[in-house]
């Protein structure tokens, strides 16, 4: 107990005062020690620790459980590994041998003799050859079978620590950290990267294959300046995030961890919520106890909405996502979204929330049907929805074509300002589809959009259209898009579809489907209609050329459109 108290104090001290390396070392030490302790006593020594590199408090047992379920996407099934860090000249400066348990838990770390690798670097052996050569040596010297070899460049490590130090000093919020780390890893795996930031591994894992695939498809990541891309992505994700305060709990077979997410401000706060152990002793195997737990969270932390998710379906979805082969086919996307929708509709089986949503009430459903609202979340046709969306989106394009998706805060300025100057955060992603596969995605930066938009605006503003109604806005957007399509033709070729999507719309979409629809009052139907109205508003969403589905949406009332489309998206037949 005394040891435990000391640990809590240390943790706080390291969190606030210590250097990045010291904090990392301390937290890694906790992981190693707790694994060793667990091996002997079948229980964990400590309760809390900081997740390495993320500055996020977590329950150690929950972390270890999550890690053992997830590690083989990042490491090989034999998780023992050699970590080699190169110096600026490209020769090994440090090397570590990490020993793991059969479950992938980190057990021990030993510093290695660098001279072991010198010959191999000199002979310029490939990573596979290095691995094959070092395998018997390690076996002989440490009596350990290694499963992975990782090589990091000095610049990569420096970059990693600089992000981490910013994280500790709380200059970055969670979204910023994730984006920065992701871009760093993508950059490090890019063969054309000139900044000598690299990270290599053998054998390749799902994680590296996924990053390589992203590098293949999203070819723009190194083209534009990284900081600009980072800023654009961060502000985009933050703007898309619903402005809510809620608690998010994840439950594994034995553990529950809870976080408070507060996204009401631009900087998104994620905070660990310590839980009452007596509450967790019940293991929360039935929904009643889960609801009790959520009520407790609401009462204690004053969170208006509380979610609890099962870990297994989340891992399954991550697996589906990470194991995709690149270029990603539309069929694969179909399957991934099927999994997500299946998870979404499995209320009470895979997730639960408090306050309980009215829409999930079985008796209320009969009233809904009586008012001819054929909405039943439990019966969403998960097999049909992605196919329906893909078919309607690609109908006029076919199996090959280019789609430009332009994202911005709002397109109000395009429709209303005569003195046009783009101040919004615009950026475009040009998706090239070939034989139903996403072949490549090009990034069109805010500057080039601005330049092209201004060109277009000069042409169409001569018409001096008075823009007041939606139909007139649509005309403006159409002219604007036409001109943009012509302007982009010399550089990017023929673009079949230009889609304008505002972050406001994405936020409303996410908020409606995740929060509003599950509200405990009757307003959900009106909120769904409000969301559709946003789709109709060219300030938020516009598709050029008007595809049949978009055309139908524009010319129908939101309610009747919903009533027409819902019987297709919901399986209403009773078997």
């Amino acid at each position: 107990m005394l040891k435990h108290d000391n640990h809590e104090k240390n943790l706080k001290n390291y969190q606030t005062e210590s250097s990045t390396q010291a904090q990392l070392q301390y937290n890694m030490k906790i992981i190693f020690e707790s694994t060793q302790y667990y091996q002997k006593n079948k229980q964990f020594q400590y309760e809390l620790f900081q997740i390495p590199f993320l500055n996020l408090t977590c329950d150690i047992s929950a972390f270890q459980e999550f890690w053992s379920a997830f590690y083989y996407y990042i490491l090989n099934t034999n998780a023992n590994s050699i970590e080699i860090i190169l110096n600026k000249e490209g020769s090994p400066s440090r090397a570590y041998l990490i020993e793991c348990t059969n479950e992938g838990l980190l057990l021990n770390i030993n510093s290695m003799d660098i001279s072991l690798f010198n010959n191999q670097i000199k002979e310029k052996l490939t990573l596979k050859e290095q691995f094959d050569e070092i395998l018997p040596i390690i076996k002989k010297k440490y009596n350990l079978n290694i499963g992975n070899i990782h090589i990091y460049s000095n610049n990569f490590i420096e970059e990693l620590f600089s992000i981490f130090s910013h994280t500790i000093s709380q200059q970055l919020d969670f979204i910023e950290v994730i984006v920065k780390y992701s871009l760093l890893f993508i950059q490090a795996r890019n063969r054309n990267n000139k900044e000598k930031i690299f990270f290599e591994c053998f054998p390749e894992t799902d994680f590296t294959r996924f990053i390589d695939g992203i590098n293949e498809t999203f070819d723009f990541i190194l083209e534009d300046s990284k900081s600009q891309l980072e800023d654009t992505l961060i502000s985009f994700i933050k703007n898309c995030f619903p402005r809510k305060k809620f608690s998010l709990s994840i439950q594994s077979s034995t553990k529950v961890i809870a976080y408070l997410v507060d996204s009401r401000n631009p900087s998104i706060l994620i905070k660990y919520l310590p839980l009452n152990p007596s509450l967790l002793d019940k293991h929360m195997k039935n929904n009643k106890s889960k609801l009790e737990y959520l009520k407790y969270l609401k009462k204690k932390y004053n969170t208006p909405t509380n979610f609890i998710f099962d870990l297994a379906p989340i891992l399954k979805n991550i697996e589906m996502f990470i194991q995709s082969t690149f270029p990603v086919s539309l069929y694969r996307l179909d399957i991934i979204f099927q999994g997500l929708i299946k998870n979404y509709r499995s209320y009470e089986f895979e997730w639960l929330m408090h306050p309980s949503p009215l829409i999930m009430n079985e008796q209320f459903r009969y009233w809904q049907y009586a008012f001819k609202i054929p909405l039943n979340i439990r019966k969403l046709a998960y097999w049909n929805i992605p196919r329906f969306v893909i078919t309607n989106a690609f109908e006029n394009i076919g199996v090959e074509g280019k789609i430009l998706a332009i994202f911005g805060d709002n397109f109000h300025i395009l429709n209303h300002s005569n003195n046009f100057s783009v101040q919004e955060n615009y950026f475009g992603l040009l998706w090239s589809i070939n034989t139903n596969k996403i072949q490549s995605v090009s990034f069109i930066s805010a500057d080039s959009i601005k330049e092209l938009s201004q060109k277009s605006h000069q042409i169409y503003s001569k018409n001096n259209l008075k823009k007041k109604q939606n139909t007139e806005h649509c005309k403006t957007m159409e002219q604007f898009s036409q001109q943009l399509q012509l302007n982009l033709y010399p550089k990017y070729g023929y673009i079949h579809t230009i889609c304008w999507i505002s972050t406001d719309l994405i936020r409303t979409f996410m908020q409606t489907l995740r929060f509003d629809i599950f509200s405990s009052n009757l307003m959900y139907w009106f909120k769904l209609k409000r969301m559709l109205k946003k789709f109709k508003d060219p300030d938020n969403f516009y598709v050029y050329p008007n595809s049949p589905l978009y055309n139908l949406l524009l010319h129908k009332k939101s309610g009747s459109f919903l009533k027409e489309i819902l019987p297709i998206l919901v399986e209403l037949r009773e078997f």
Binding site: E395, G401, L486, P545, N546, P548, E564
Partner: protein, 693 residues
Amino acid sequence: MVVIAAQNDTEEETLKDILFKLKKNILNQENNIEEPILLIVDIPGIVGYPWSINPNSLIILIQWLTENFSGCITILPSLPINYNSERVLENWGLGAFLKRENISILYPDKITAISSIIDNEIKTEKKDNSIPTFKSFKTVILYTQIGLLDENTLWSGSTLLYQLQLNFQSLFNKISVYPSEEITSNELLQAQWIWNWLLHFFPKKMNSKNYIQGNYPAKKKILTLFISSAFSIISKNSIIYDPTLIPLKPKMIFLSDSFSEIEHMTYHYFKKTLSKSFFYPIFREIFDQNLKKDLELLTDNNLSSFAVSDLIKENRLQKFHIHTYFGELSEEEGFFAYHIPDLLNDLLFDDFQNVNHIALLIGNKPPVPKQADWIIIFGENAIKSTLNAPFTLLDKNKLPKEPFKIIDFEIGGNQILDDDELEREILRKQRKIRNKIEKLETKINAFIDSISDKSIEEERNLLILTAKKKNAQKIQNLRTKIEKIRIDLLIKNEIRKIKLEKPNIIINQKIIRIPSVALSGLDFIPYLKQKWSKKEAPSFHFFYNKLIPFYQFSNPKNEWNKKIITQLKEVLKTTISEISTPLLPEIQRKLKKVKDQRNQEFKKFKIREKIAQQKIKNDYDPKILELKKKLKNLKKEEKKHRRKRFLMQLQRFSNYFLNKSILKKELVEDKEKISLKNPKDFQEDIKEENKSA
């Protein structure tokens, strides 16, 4: 005359190669591209590439033509005439490009629109304003996207020509309703020119279809270039986009100025026999002209031939159970029969997944489908030849009719039970009554227990006996019912059987008839929509609504519907008179016999019931009477005793007045004694008094 072919990584590059070779090898001073140019492009519907041509390639071709020859280009999309071609091209995003290049577009649907406007009393205005500036086209380019129709037939130049011929034929049929001399628009003149040009390719039909005078090309032979893009190939039977389909990539484009040669070459390279194709008989004369000559292919590298025969099997799986029943097909029906099964497959898959059998009947005298859930009959030939078919009328009595359940109650259902089922049903109903009997028995026991505290034994026995009698009567009644049920159910089943022998003939409502007029494009959809409700087929209705801006659907004509219904009613009348009338007397005789039998049986039960009830009465009544007598006596004696006591009290009371104090005491004691006594004590008192008397 040669065929040029090229193969490259992208379609744009391949097209550029082809155009370069064309300029270098085929075009010369005598044989050159001259303006105005007509560019016919293969667009079968609102679906994108590779069903339709690649818009990017089209732009490259237009740019090449404008840069090298002339900007005077007219584009004709090969869409069926009811499509709103302008909207379809806009839907492709081509509007801006075509506007920029100043390309004029010939919209077949607009010709019909103009003619209808003229007919609606705007003739004079139109006449004055429009001065036709049409010049005969000097070059025609036919740009086809190669696809597959079936194992033997490719979607190639011949398909496109045939489809154009069908489109223009229906266009002129439509226009012929209005006086053609009144229409002098450029579009119409262009259409007339194209029609005349098209007829060159259909020598067989020369006699049946006349040229339209006035605009026939002066030069009999004009430069016609055929471009067949086989860069990506897909089965083009259905014009609905399916994301699961993966196209084959031969990465080839063919070009020639000879229709016959390019067709021979395309079929040769895809390892198919032209003579087996659907279009061979139609274009036989042209194809056979060049058969003996050696084909010359101009290409830089050796092209490998490409077997596409497996594409249909692998790629377009039969999604659900649509069965085709083809009779003798006319030429047009034959072409339609290629599309319709796959198109319906895609259209109806979402809504009718659980339907086992949808039958499509096309052509004269098609085979009769067995047990189809829905029957769709296409074309007048099929409709006429199936008016008397066995599936047109249904015997309602022979249709399976299952009851539906609300909670535990079965409603409806009128099926005949077989022996085992009947026996089970009888037992089920008998069990219910037996349960009632058991309940009655438990009730009587409970009653006996409830009256156990009655002081007078006779009274208690009387109550028990009367209750037992009633119970026995009820039980006897129920036992008779049990026996009755067996006979009742047996006879009811028999009656049902006999009644069902009489055919109850109705018109089969699950047949959709579509006239020949609706065989082009998507004209058949409103006929299906009319039959299927929104609730029944939501996806289908959604597709229809989505397509309204792009397609001019014409509603099914009431006159045609009425005509069909009257024909069907006549058939119904004759069938009823033929089948049901001779059967009626025999059925009635059988019914009477069975009913008589039932009545007799029921009479027997009634008599038996009476006897049994009488027996119960005889058993119980004497006992009850005896008890009643006893009880009566008891009551009489009690009455007597009461009177006596009253008299005694009266006597004491009178004595009281005589001797107040003494009598008062005695009276009180007596009173107490009397209140303590029960009826038994009274009886004993009476006995004692009698003895003493």
